[in-house]
Symmetry: C2
Subunit: 166 residues, 2 copies
């Protein structure tokens, strides 16, 4: 074990104490990560679930409910409630699939895109500030660790989305 690829005491970054700091950093950072969109959503009587749905529908217009389910990792019933309010409020359109009429293809309306943009902007602003403060090398490391932390099936979704469109 001592003669691993990165020999000897270079493994100090794997101590329990270092890992704990990473865990606590994730916890506190995620709170910051969601804070700004949460404030906007609260005004509109929406929650994070609405944000996630709007984000991923905007990211892949025409996606099906099933696909959205496997990205979000919730039950279809839970997603459906959120989707219903978004449709009622005119932010999302659900249209019957052309090849398979069991499926529903989901799209943002103009209003939906506007909300998505507003939420994105808020979240991006904070992310941009963090990136700028930390610098490009740090950002590369940030992404590497996050990717290594994902479950395999989620990592698949992430990769699919990563190089989609621009």
């Amino acid at each position: 074990m001592a003669e691993g690829p990165e020999g000897g005491q270079a493994l100090l970054f794997l101590t329990d104490d270092q890992l704990r700091k990473g865990i606590e950093a994730m916890f506190f950072a995620y709170r910051g990560f969601t804070a700004d969109p949460d404030r906007i959503l609260a005004e509109l009587a929406y929650g994070r679930a609405h944000h996630r749905a709007v984000h991923f529908i905007g990211r892949r217009p025409g996606t099906t409910v099933n696909n959205l389910l496997s990205i979000l990792g919730v039950t279809k019933q839970s997603l459906n409630r959120v989707l219903r309010t978004l449709i009622e409020d005119g932010l999302v359109i659900s249209e019957v699939g052309r090849s398979d009429k069991r499926e529903r293809n989901l799209y943002l309306t103009d209003a939906g895109r506007a909300l998505e943009q507003r939420l994105s902007d808020a979240q991006r602003d904070r992310m941009r500030a963090a990136y700028r403060a930390a610098g490009p090398e740090a950002v590369a490391g940030f992404r590497q660790v996050l990717e290594a932390m994902m479950d395999e099936d989620l990592h698949r979704h992430y990769r699919e989305m990563k190089d989609l469109k621009v």
Copy 2:
């Protein structure tokens, strides 16, 4: 502005596309981050709120309710519900403060420490795997970006805790 510390086109890492990837990485990674403890908690009819309480009480034995509140960022009613079940189940002890009898100092019992350990181990295992896969430089960057993403008051808590004990 073009002659900043990192001049010219080194700013490509601040494009909206890069930021979006970071946002999605945070989302997917956080799911992985909580997945293992969540499975354990589900067995015990506990939730993430219990995990957080147990974690931070274990981290700062004797902490007060008020301090825990400002770390967790929830209302006292919400925390109280969780704390009550933990005390009833014999995982946490609440004792009247010695210098200020209005305060309650919170401690883990042996059973509480056992649960905390079990949850920590699960979470650390994944974090360790991610750290190992990404390497020490990536880990440093990961922590830098996360710290820059925190709200200032949470960052304060993070720093307080960071160099506590060992």
